[in-house]
Amino acid sequence: MTFDDLATRNAAWLDGSGLRASLVISSRVRLARNLSQKPFTNRATDQDKQAIVTSVVDAASASRFGDLAYFDTSALNGLQRQLLVERHLISPALAKESGPHGVLVEETEGASVMVNEEDHLRIQVIQSGLQPVEAYETAHALERDLAGELDFAVSQEWGFLTACATNTGTGLRASTLIHLPGLALTKEMDGVVRGVAQLGFAVRGIYGEGTESSGNLYQISNQLTLGRSEQTLLDGLNRVVGQVVECEMNARETLLREAKGQIEDKVWRAYGILERARLLTSHELMNFSSAIRLGIDMEMLPGLETGTINDIMVNTQPSHLQHRAGQPLDACERDVLRASVVRERLAA
């Protein structure tokens, strides 16, 4: 798989096929692992980092996940790295790393492994809908295969040894990307964020740590990684997300009961603008696509599918647009192309 192949096709998790996928867009699991006998990335020389890349790539090619393609992100330009960030395949932190680093990517983009981020390996699996346990099982299978070839840093006392103490133990971060327009419209989001935090889970923006929410999309993830088994953490996430989904459904019922006309108007206005606009900023697109997701969920927009909105959400981000154009575009040029891509996708 070449970079162009990856850039021009859609990841499987965007197809909207998973459990409750119109509301829970995706479930993601990542496992932080380090090789023993090697300094962690923050102390590693370029030579160490290159040896780590070689070991991990060799281990992956000997595994059942042998078809993972390796992208040497240190050799990619800024725009290409940013495209991988927009795809949720690398973190903004990896895009800024120096020295040898990269990412192994499965053809469907379900499984991937970042190499030489804060930890030597960040094994990631993303699936459509509310399926954190299934995502974990795949990540664990990949980890097990890699462990057959690699010697992970681990201790009986502390579990998997990671660079940051907030990941030590299981090294497991499980999260779901969830669409919560009902709670935003009924102004109940703050209460939910507080409640979720009290249960040891965090609510963050769409790209994870340190990012803002956009289009009423939030990531809910476990905060703690030590002293709880993987199963306990995953059960906890399922339970918390289940409760948040229930709150969202209650908020939507209230909206339908008390303001059905206004909600329908909001949904159709958003659709009208996306279908006709000639200029669209990212911010506008995220807001209107949130109204359309809500419309699809409430069966107000027959014939339109969640997968189409997911496709639009990913493919209209700045680096995706510039890759499509084959050249750098300024903000205004991107807005023109974004509007054109949206019209094309909605007409398909």
Binding site: F40, R144, C164, G169, A202
Partner: protein, 151 residues
């Protein structure tokens, strides 16, 4: 977990603060969270958590000093966990609320691969530790490396 500010009441509020490479997690009771005025005023950094130490220790493997660890919040290698070991129970109690790892997976299975699992199984059988042998056999079966009756 007990509140990290008053050390008296049960902590019911978790606050995460991420500034650059510094990750901090605070567990507070409701009263302290309100009194201290939200996330900006209450983050307890790794630096504060380990402030009792002199900070002069250096990891013999990777050369990271404890002072550096306190500043960045990042271990330099797996041996730092041993080197700075005396501070870790306190650190993990504060950051993660517990002092030890729990997993359904035997640590050895992921550290040493199937070869070691098989030799451990042989050893467990010969020392008649059948409970452990059964666990190891299940693990090998799960890995597709052992038939049901094999030992």
């Amino acid at each position: 977990m007990i509140c990290q500010n008053c050390n008296e009441d049960e902590a019911s509020v978790v606050i995460t603060k991420i500034v650059g490479e510094q990750h901090t997690i605070s567990h507070l009771c409701k009263a302290c969270a309100q009194t201290l005025g939200g996330a900006s005023g209450v983050a307890i950094s790794i630096q504060t958590l380990t402030s009792g130490s002199a900070g002069t220790e250096v990891c013999g493997t990777c050369g990271k000093s404890f002072a550096d660890f306190r500043k960045s919040g990042l271990f330099g290698c797996s041996d730092c966990y041993t080197q700075f070991g005396e501070y870790l129970p306190k650190l993990f109690k504060r950051v993660q609320g517990v002092r030890q790892h729990v997993s359904e997976e035997p640590v050895v299975a992921l550290r040493d691969g199937p070869g070691t699992l098989k030799s451990e199984l042989t050893e467990a059988v010969s020392s008649e530790d059948f409970e452990r042998a059964a666990l190891l056999r299940d693990r090998l079966t799960a890995l597709g490396l052992e038939g049901k009756g094999g030992a």
